[in-house]
Symmetry: C2
Subunit: 432 residues, 2 copies
């Protein structure tokens, strides 16, 4: 029976999980794959560190370069999660025609184009199922299952940490800070949670999904990203009153004129839509294709085990690709779609929260500005005041308008004497 | 650019969809696949019939055998949905090393073993994504994405017609007959709906899923199948009162002693579980693996477009397999799992509805029988009577017991003088 050698770079949480499950489910993999997989080297920073999995000392090395130099390694699994070193390892492996498996979303979002140009030059594949949504096979779904579809939209809850925080802010009415602290204590958020709560991590994943769906590497500076840090419990409660839940969504769409849009921001999702009930650290993606219609994928988006499942399926794919070289090297570039539309041109519906003086004429002034800018109001709510004194919240649901229009309106409304704080805006998505 | 010839057998609903979308999305497929696909023959029963898609007369033939004889056809797409003829076409194609794509679930459930033995002999793959759950890529997920997982369970809503009927019985309190009639008028149920409502169609799909998950073709006579025909609106309403929805589920599980269980029956699903809110003709599958944990897939399980998406992804897979012959021919048999456990040994929780005399001592008699048989009661409800006279409904939720135990109890309870009609039992599933 054919045997393939694996070099594993990185023995953090996911690396340890991959090692553990490759060993535990060895018999099953052999039967289903028709070959055996053997881990031949493991590159770590500190070989002396005590690890939850028992890796023979003879496999350990501190030099990731050793994986490249070892001719018995045909599959390089990059789980270091670094930048220069990970890129060096991946490009080095491609040059030596070793198949690459990586979960490095930041690297792919930034260097995807370069990596797949090298992959094409050397006809050596790079697989990256673990880079998006952990155990959910969304990369395979878009790349293979929906190959005959124009992807019309993807709406994804693709950051478990922020979804956990939003779930707690919604269900337990915690503040952002309280929910973040709880997430950190539960191990769902890191000591430095910036990349999770500022939308950066979700943006990496959105870039990868959009690039796969539309055949070109979407430049990071062309997408719109907003995090959840400034969301308040009142906004979440008001949204509920309108029949919505607030979720951090990665949104990817293509319109008929062939422009695409990629954005990450807090979003009001109708409570009846299944994405609204995805809670805690779970991820979910609603994918709409012109042939398949609406589909949804749900599962654990992070964590040792779920992510290991994705890495192992890529290792299996890598073994297959070594037996029979394939045309699709993990990413098929093409020029059928146009560029990324700037956020200013993108239309959305909106939720607005204003703090206004509680006196006659206020609503008329605000509605006047919106009317002048041809922005339609679909609903107005003036809830019981929470503030003391004469300031009250005023909530508006706004019909479709471009970002340019709404920003213009917000600026003018913010200058009104009756408006006491900077207006707060959250985008709204409906699903047809 | 390489070109592959397709022979399409069957121009019904799905066949027409495949033809239409292959033509419409030709450019996209070419870019993503790196080759072109050309339909070279279409086998139909009646070439004179007017079709919704415009197939050139030169492609039409009434003999499916012509697809086998044409050396320019490398991919045979079997969508005739017949038995002997479909089997003849598939086996004939395998012998000639043409790659097969089929959505024929009945045929696979019955002849899967034979078909894949032939596929192995001739090293020629057979793909069948369209056979289960339409546009949801569940075959690919189990075969490839979860290759490193022992599949612990699959709970699937895999028959859209019966899910539509149950949804209408639940939401609109229709009777089974009324809901069935509505489904037929809406085109969601056929004139002869037997195979949909008696669980037969779901059983075919459950057999395919179980076989794929556990590496051997599960014999049809070893699985338990019960349909939805005898469900009443009262059962559905009572289930609601206990916090459940009634769904026709395909249930597949493996236990640690390596026996597997495969069954299809109406099931009480906790209303909080996402499967409970899958309504109408949609399908959904909750898959639990020992590495990936809980996942869920949702989408259209039938219909021209969704099913075409699956067929086209298989055609793409077929083109790939022609370029680089693969080890996995669509199904990898192995002997790691044991046989199918008989229903009598399978444990479940249960909902029981009895029609009893409204007088003292009745509950004691029934509880006595259950107690003697070591069957635990988790909850009892005696709702307001709907019947006239002295007969009232009595509802019991029963703790885990084997089918043997519960059938024994039902028989003895049915013989009690105070029990006026045959007891009604529905199985209950909880999800940890």
């Amino acid at each position: 029976m054919q045997q393939f050698g694996i070099g594993l770079a990185g023995m953090g949480n996911v690396g340890a999980g991959v090692y553990k499950h490759l060993v535990q489910n060895r018999a099953l993999l052999r039967e289903r794959l028709g070959c055996t997989l053997e881990i031949r080297k493991v590159a770590v920073r500190d070989p002396a560190r005590v690890r939850p999995v028992d890796v023979p000392a003879s496999l350990l090395t501190t030099r990731w370069e050793d994986l490249l130099d070892d001719p018995s390694i045909q599959i390089v699994v990059e789980l270091m999660g670094r930048k220069e070193e990970s890129l060096g390892l991946i490009l080095g492996a491609i040059e030596r025609k070793k198949v690459v498996v990586t979960g490095n979303k930041a690297l792919l979002a930034e260097h995807g184009k370069e990596i797949f140009e090298a992959a094409t030059t050397h006809a050596s594949p790079v697989f990256f199922e673990a880079a998006v949504a952990g155990g959910i096979p969304i990369i395979k779904a878009i790349r293979e299952a929906f190959i005959g579809n124009h992807i019309q939209s993807i709406h994804g809850i693709i950051n478990g940490t922020s979804n956990y925080i939003l779930s707690r802010m919604t269900d337990a009415e915690m503040s952002f800070d309280e929910a973040l602290r709880e997430a950190q204590e539960a191990g769902y958020a890191e000591a430095d949670p910036s990349l999770d709560v500022n939308g950066g991590d979700a943006a990496h994943k959105a870039i990868i999904l959009a690039s796969l769906a539309y055949g070109f590497w979407v430049p990071a500076d062309r997408i719109f990203v907003e995090g959840i840090e400034s969301l308040t419990t009142s906004d979440i409660r008001f949204a509920k009153q309108f029949g919505y839940r607030v979720k951090l969504l990665g949104i990817i769409k293509s319109d008929e004129s062939r422009g695409i849009e990629v954005r990450v921001h807090p979003t009001l999702v109708p409570e009846k839509h299944v994405l609204a009930s995805v809670n805690g650290v779970f991820n979910a993606l609603a994918v709409k294709g012109d042939v398949v219609g609406e589909t949804l994928f749900y599962g654990r988006g992070a964590g040792q085990d779920a992510t290991s499942s994705a890495v192992i399926s890529d290792i299996a794919e890598a073994a297959d690709a070594l037996v029979s070289p394939r045309r699709n090297l993990g990413f098929m570039p093409h020029g059928l779609y146009g560029a990324c539309r700037p956020i200013d041109d993108i239309e959305s519906e909106y939720y607005l929260r204003l703090s206004v003086e509680d006196r006659p004429g206020t609503i008329a002034q605000i509605a006047g500005i919106l009317g002048e800018l041809s922005i339609g109001i679909s609903s107005i709510l003036q809830p019981e005041s929470e503030d003391e004194g004469s300031t009250v919240p005023l909530l508006l649901m706004i019909h479709r308008a471009t970002n340019r229009q709404i920003q213009n309106a917000l600026q003018r409304i913010g200058l009104l004497a009756c408006v006491k704080k900077p207006p707060r805006m959250i985008r709204v998505e409906h699903f047809s």
